[in-house]
């Protein structure tokens, strides 16, 4: 080799060496030191996803080797995948059902139910609607399987005069929100009127547009959607038998917003928690959940709920798994 060519080769090697050194692990944060790697698969409720997604991103900032993917197949769809062993964590806006538990047991999946946030299932109406409170019975007259009301004036005992036509919006039957609402208001999961209801599927924004666009509109979804759209919608107070209570963080944490106050869960599997990146993520989740819930528009956990969730995770991580 000529001397000039040798110089070029040396220079190239030097540049490469500097480049590799510079691109090495340069962000060593506190938790875990950033040496975790792997991928975490989460799927399930579209209500819980706005909480799990930012958690995944924050965790990825501290541990760039860990890739967190969050799907939104719905609470039921998420459980199906979870009990098939296809996901590590299942997001859920309702508790797991007996037949889903059986499916998990049949496949040897052990799990634990971890509460990560409170939610106030909010019933929203058009801001021009003068009604401020509905009882559970009145909600049943609007949404029940035998309901026939077509106008607000068909509902007896309203606290304000209103005679616009009812424009009813509902999520689809796949939604955990739908399951919870129909169970709480109509007494049976899946029981809802089939005629004259605008089913918006997983598209909660369509409910926002629809209700804010029709004077007699009424719809329901999780608190975070209401919170984001306070300027377009009005939330009704719900009377579960003890007086009218509005959906708010304080009333939900105190358990007063009934029966539409609910909890949001993640279900990690014992097998997944054996992986250090998953355990690290779940611990990270619980450590930071109350900070993120406020930002994501959810309602934070109380101290007791947080302690219980943490101890459940610890128990599953040490005790469970094959």
């Amino acid at each position: 080799m000529t001397s000039s060519r040798k110089l070029v080769v040396l220079a190239a090697v030097a540049v490469l060496a500097v480049g590799v050194a510079a691109c090495g692990d340069s962000d060593d944060e506190t938790n875990g030191g950033g040496d975790l790697s792997g991928s975490i698969r989460i799927d399930g409720s579209s209500t819980v996803a706005p909480l799990s997604e930012p958690m995944g991103e924050l965790f990825n900032e501290e541990n760039p080797g860990v890739n967190v993917t969050v799907g939104t197949s719905g609470t039921g769809g998420g459980f199906e995948k979870f009990c098939n062993g296809e996901t590590d964590i299942s997001d859920a806006s309702r508790a797991i059902e007996p037949d889903e538990e059986e499916a998990c047991q049949a496949n040897g999946i052990e799990f634990e139910e971890i509460v990560v946030a409170n939610d106030a299932l909010s019933v929203v109406v058009n801001p021009d609607n003068p009604v401020s409170c509905l009882t559970v019975e009145q909600l049943g007259e609007i949404y029940g399987p035998k309901a026939t009301a077509t106008s607000w004036s068909d509902i007896k005992g309203l606290d304000a005069e209103f005679s616009e036509d009812l424009e009813i919006f509902s999520p689809g039957a796949d939604s955990g929100t739908f399951d919870y609402f129909t169970d709480a208001i109509n007494g049976e999961e899946g029981a809802q009127r089939s005629k004259n209801v605008n089913v918006v599927g997983e598209n909660d924004n369509a409910t926002v547009t629809g209700v804010s666009g029709s004077p007699g509109g009424i719809g329901y979804f999780g608190y975070s959607f209401y919170n984001e759209n306070r300027d377009k919608l009005k939330a009704l107070e719900v009377d579960g038998g003890d007086g009218c209570v509005e959906p708010a963080p304080e009333t939900t944490q105190a358990g007063e917003y009934a029966p539409l106050g609910r909890q949001l869960y993640i279900y990690p599997s014992a097998q997944a928690l054996e992986k250090p990146e998953v355990l690290g993520f779940v611990n990270f989740y619980l450590e930071n959940v109350n900070d993120v819930t406020e930002q994501a528009g959810f309602i934070a956990l109380t101290e007791e709920q947080l302690e219980e969730s943490q101890s459940k995770v610890d128990a599953l991580a040490t005790g469970g798994g094959e």
Partner: protein, 314 residues
């Protein structure tokens, strides 16, 4: 040329007496490729039949075909398929009402009035319309067409359209069908021999008369085929109705109301969280069977009509 000048000899007789296995293998391969489409169709029908039969074991065919409430996901369950069949037909009807006049008039313009250069540029442009991704058109229908309709809706027509309505979906589907009708009808009209046209002009007919009274009837079989093809496309369209028409089974032809089409029902339920093997899950196959039978019936009808009205030219 050689074969036709000696009518008794078919091309296969020209082969060398020794068997050429290469030729046989190629023949077999090509035959197999042709058979794939037949086999696939048969396989689809068989796969639909199994769960459908188990579905009809629990729900009577009469309840299914003539019931007026479709709510397999709600409790109490109801399995009358008419609302979603009518949903599909409603969107198809309103879409055709929009697309057939526009398609046919475009075809007449392209074949009778347009100069060759205009025709050469315009026809491919029309066909580009058919290539727009259906999900984009569906989103366009939901985000722009529906709000626009709601704003300009005249009072004398009654209630303004819902956030999900059949009309927006029908207009979008019409947009997708116009190229099919225009292109195939235009092909049919262009292949009418110019002798017929020239004869009519020689008798003093105007261009409109020639187009409507001479060319149109002569090309009728092709035009009918194009319309039936358009109907098949509209019936099978999934994405547009899913995004714009809604998910509320509703037995009505009123275009401003939210409806659910069969294809949208299959898409929503199939990608949802229904457990396999349940009665609700089998509804997907039963509805798929109905859809298949409808499309099959239409295709057979179109073949009949084309044969009946076809003009054979020397």
């Amino acid at each position: 040329m050689l074969a036709s000048s000696r009518p008794g000899i078919s091309p296969s007789r020209l082969e060398a007496p020794s068997r050429r296995l290469g030729e046989k293998a190629i023949q077999g391969l090509l035959g197999a490729c042709a058979a794939i489409s037949v086999v696939t169709t048969t396989a689809i029908v068989i796969s639909l039949l199994g769960p459908s039969l188990s579905f009809f074991g629990e729900v009577s065919i009469a309840d299914f075909l003539f019931g007026t409430e479709w709510s397999p996901a709600l409790r109490p369950q109801s399995f009358g398929v008419l609302p979603i069949v009518v949903g599909t037909l409603s969107v198809t009807f309103w879409g055709l009402l929009f697309a057939v006049p526009i398609g046919l008039l475009s075809a007449i313009y392209l074949s009778e009035y347009a100069r060759p250069r205009v025709r050469r540029t315009l026809k491919p442009l029309l066909e580009v319309l058919a290539g727009i991704p259906t999900v984009a058109i569906g989103f366009f229908a939901f985000s722009f067409v529906t709000p626009a309709l709601q704003e300009v809706w005249p009072g004398f027509l009654g209630d303004e359209p819902n956030i999900f309505n059949a009309l927006a979906a029908a207009l979008a589907i019409g947009l997708l069908i116009v190229p099919i009708i225009a292109s195939i009808s235009e092909d049919a009209m262009s292949s009418v021999p110019s002798g017929l046209r020239e004869g009519a002009y020689a008798m003093g007919a105007t261009r409109m008369k020639v187009a409507l009274r001479v060319v149109f009837p002569a090309a009728l079989s092709g035009i009918v085929a194009s319309i039936v093809l358009g109907v098949s496309r509209a019936v099978g369209e999934t994405m547009v109705v899913l995004m714009a028409a809604g998910a509320t089974p509703n037995l009505t032809f009123n275009p401003v109301e939210s409806i659910e089409a069969m294809t949208a029902y299959i898409a929503i339920t199939g990608t949802g969280d229904i457990a396999t093997g349940t009665l609700e899950y089998n509804t997907i196959f039963a509805v798929g069977l109905v859809l298949f039978v409808m499309t099959l019936g239409m295709n057979m009808l179109s073949i009949r009509l084309v044969r009946k009205y076809r003009e054979v030219y020397e």
